[in-house]
């Protein structure tokens, strides 16, 4: 059969367009239990699906098990998230299970040393100490600190034990350190947490604006989808708005090098440009938006027991337009260091009616002393232009951890929360929780507990005397670390740590409990795009390791809360999920049934009548939108279903470079290592790739300081210091006057240097800005 060139191109166009249609829009009542055929010819190799253990992308993985061991992984071609692609960490997953020093037995500290114990001894001790602490000092004296790497059941069991049992709201998770500003940004703007869009937007947008987000390293599989979009659509642009050059920059069409904190001014300047050039969507604004102004000069959370309550007041559109007038392009240039003409180019992308825009961000905007504000301000741009709730036109807050959404945010393992966006301060919410849990409503404490930074401050002061830390490593990850490590080591503190490997956090523990991880237990994770995914247990955990959820249930029962945990030993995972699901039904957070998740490659909630929801708040896709409406932010009840455009100012950070400490310090991650490195540093090829932390310095700054590449220097702040090797021309290149240090290395604790300021609304610390100096090592 012969084709003309014209016919050939027409066929290509049709095939490419067909392939671009969203594959995730599926009727899950049909199920999707088919696994792709394994490439391996080994008949003993059994494959099963699971979400990746690492980041918030939620890639689908096929796990190959032979002779009781995970021996292989492959990308799951049927999973619409990654369509068979994995990153280097994903391909390295088997290695995280088999490090030589894996914890396998409970340990109790005696005379300064951790000694092996039985489960009964350890669990009885934990229960007794927690019970004694509550009886002597009250429920506020105990705490649970968990993780965005908790499976859903881990978080739900911890939440129920504390909030329905003990009557304490001191349940927090490390997602407070990564996603809290995203949460408060969503809730203050839309009335509900989590994105309205989904990954399908990657194949639809014309422009991707990355706000301080090194996506090429931190979400590489999603970035590959952006690159593929760009490859097939030559007009697509990637804009990298960042405080340092990264691998992402090398793919960008436009790199805008901005001063730290100046994103607040930039976003306002873009809003002003949209309004002044009359490119706002009048119809959308008039029907779907209200304007509000909150308090300003709101502090930085540096004082113990810092407290803040916003006082929003209404504004008109004209008042808001007047408010942003001082954010001229020239003012934004002065604050950011980006030429006004380049800011205008960025503003044009948002303002142009025909350019579909996806804004993307992660820690650059969330780990920010005004994190809630900058989240609000980026939403403002999408709301002003109506570029929201439409395929290819959405803001998308990327998540760092595999279940910061699914567990922490959705289950509600935060000091003020209950499941499904409910809060402890609302009497109706407490009533609903009490009914589902079968407890008197008075059992649920209406007073929020300590947020994470305040929790560790309370531990330091002695207001918290017993804390259980699960699946996270705060003795590496807490900012201003020296204070919090000292606090945890004080006498009369009882610290329990559930972990898989020894870490600096297990070093301060009185009891260490060995945890089963990932496919060593059944579980659910929830990713960035609201996709909840299930996996079955595939291999036995090593030694006596047991899942965190099992440990929590055992302690809760020993404390006298057996009635709250009546589940079977083999069925608790399913029973907990089905109980938790009851919170979500009819709320717009609806989860599907257990069987649906077993069958599917995840489902995006709300899942109603077996159908997932790729796009929220839009009638075409979301069953919760009221009849007759095209778009409705139905969770924002106080505004009649309208989103809020917030007037938020530029305010400087609490600590800026000065003569004594002349550099900005930014911390972050690298592709090869996951967070504090407790898993990835035990995988030889990842460890060899990046064996230790380092400090990136601009070559011109190094030359002025007389520093050579590879030299060891001391990075010092007002709080602490750490020695690091210098990298002048590595993967990342900071601006002049800035340095960057990754935080994965427990032997180079950069968080001894960082500042524990936080966003007063979200309580999320700012790891991206403090002032340091660089000291050359003196010759001996």
């Amino acid at each position: 059969m012969r084709f003309t060139r014209r016919e050939f191109i027409r066929h290509l166009a049709a095939a490419a367009t067909y392939a671009s249609l969203p594959v995730g829009l599926m009727d899950c009542s049909k199920g999707s239990s088919a696994f792709p055929e394994a490439v391996s010819l080994d008949p003993k190799l059994k494959w099963d699906k699971a979400p990746c253990r690492f980041c918030g992308t939620g890639c689908g993985v096929m796990v190959g098990v032979k002779d009781g061991k995970v021996v292989a992984v492959a990308g799951d071609q049927l999973n619409p998230v990654n369509k068979g692609l994995l990153c280097i960490k994903g391909y390295s997953l088997p290695g995280i299970l088999y490090g030589e020093d894996r914890l396998t037995r409970p340990l109790i500290r005696s005379n300064g040393a951790l000694k092996e114990a039985t489960w009964d001894e350890a669990l009885n001790l934990v229960a007794a100490r927690f019970k004694e602490t509550v009886e002597k000092h009250g429920p506020e004296a105990v705490a649970m600190y968990g993780s965005g790497q908790w499976a859903i059941s881990d978080g739900y069991a911890a939440l129920k034990w504390f909030k329905a049992g003990i009557g304490s709201n001191n349940v927090e998770a490390n997602a407070r350190l990564c996603m809290a500003s995203a949460v408060t940004g969503f809730i203050t703007t839309f009335g509900a947490d989590e994105p309205m869009g989904c990954y399908d937007d990657f194949e639809k947008a014309d422009a991707f604006v990355l706000w301080g987000n090194n996506m090429a390293e931190m979400h590489p599989v999603l970035f590959s989808r952006i690159l593929e979009r760009k490859r097939t659509a030559s007009w697509v642009r990637i804009i990298d708005l960042a405080t340092r050059r990264t691998p992402t920059t090398e793919w960008a069409d436009m790199h805008l090098s901005m001063a730290p904190q100046s994103d607040l001014a930039l976003a306002n300047a873009i809003a002003r440009f949209i309004i002044n050039t009359r490119r706002y969507d009048r119809d959308f604004v008039s029907r779907h938006v209200v304007f509000r102004r909150g308090k300003e000069n709101i502090g930085y959370g540096l004082e113990d027991k810092f407290s803040f309550r916003d006082q929003p007041r209404p504004m008109s559109f004209d008042e808001y337009a007047q408010y942003v007038q001082r954010y001229t392009l020239e003012y934004a240039e002065k604050v950011s260091g980006i030429p006004a003409g380049r800011i205008k180019q960025l503003a044009e992308i948002y303002a142009d009616k025909f350019t579909k825009v996806v804004s993307l961000w992660c820690m650059g905007m969330n780990q920010h002393n005004r994190g809630t504000w900058i989240n609000n301000l980026v939403y403002n741009l999408h709301l002003l232009t109506g570029k929201i709730c439409k395929p290819g036109n959405n803001p998308l807050s990327l998540t760092g951890q595999p279940s910061a959404c699914g567990t922490v945010r959705e289950v509600g393992t935060l000091a003020h929360r209950l499941p499904a966006d409910m809060v402890v301060t609302n009497p109706e919410h407490r009533k609903k929780a009490a009914e589902i849990w079968g407890v008197p409503v008075e059992r649920i404490n209406p007073k929020p507990g300590y947020n994470t930074v305040e929790m560790f401050r309370a531990l330091d002061r002695g207001d918290i005397k017993a804390i259980w830390i699960q699946t996270t490593n705060p003795m590496v990850s807490m900012p201003n670390l020296n204070r919090y490590r000292t606090g945890a080591e004080k006498q009369d503190r009882f610290v329990v740590v559930s972990e898989v490997y020894p870490t600096p956090t297990t070093e301060v523990a009185d009891v260490v409990l060995p945890s089963a991880m990932w496919v060593e237990r059944e579980g659910f994770f929830g990713n960035t795009e609201r996709r909840t995914q299930h996996w079955f247990k595939m291999v036995e955990p090593p030694g006596e390791a047991r899942p965190d959820v099992w440990q929590t249930i055992q302690v809760a029962r020993r404390m006298g809360y057996a009635d709250l945990f009546p589940y079977g030993d083999e069925t608790y995972e399913r029973e907990l999920f089905e109980e938790y699901r009851r919170f979500t039904l009819g709320t717009g957070h609806d989860l599907g049934t257990y069987e649906q998740y077993v069958a599917a490659r995840g489902l995006r909630w709300p899942v109603v009548n077996g159908r997932e929801t790729p796009y929220r708040y839009t009638a075409r896709f979301d069953p919760y939108v009221s009849e007759g409406k095209d778009i409705e932010f139905y969770a924002k009840k106080d505004t009649g279903g309208r989103a809020v455009i917030w007037a938020r100012p530029y305010e400087p950070p609490p600590e800026v470079p000065d003569d004594e400490y002349p550099f900005w310090l930014t911390t972050g991650r690298v592709l090869e290592h996951w967070h504090t490195g407790s898993m990835t540093r035990r995988i030889p090829h990842l460890h060899r790739a990046v064996p230790e932390a380092y400090v990136e310095i601009h070559p011109d700054d190094a030359a002025e300081l007389g520093i050579q590449d590879g030299e060891t220097v001391r990075v010092r702040s007002r709080r602490g210091s750490v020695e690091l090797k210098v990298v002048l021309n590595g993967k990342g290149k900071p601006r002049r006057g800035s340095v960057f240090v990754p935080f994965f290395d427990e032997n180079k604790l950069i968080n001894e240097v960082t500042l524990d300021s936080y966003c007063p609304i979200s309580k999320e610390p700012d790891y991206k800005k403090c002032a340091v100096k660089i000291e050359k090592r003196m010759a001996s």
Partner: protein, 79 residues
């Protein structure tokens, strides 16, 4: 003569009317339909005309969204 592949999403229940409206446009063919999604091939005499054709699709009643999934502007007159 540029050739585009365009994925069009019709509002619920309007795929048929959208399909007819697109096929009435010069240079446009609906080559496939998947639920409310239509796969459209657009040929136009110039890039500007191609863009104008895309904007006409966006403006049609019943079109919830449209995006260009493929675009080629090499000379295809030689067969």
């Amino acid at each position: 003569m540029p050739i585009s592949g365009i994925a069009v999403m019709a509002a619920e229940g309007q795929a048929e009317s959208v399909k007819q409206a697109i096929e009435a446009q010069p240079g446009m063919d609906v080559v496939s339909q998947v639920g409310d999604y239509l796969v459209v091939v657009l040929e136009a005499p110039s890039p500007a005309a191609c863009k104008a054709g895309f904007e006409r699709i966006l403006a049609l009643p019943g079109v919830a969204s449209a995006e260009v999934a493929y675009y080629d502007e090499q000379d295809v007159r030689q067969g």
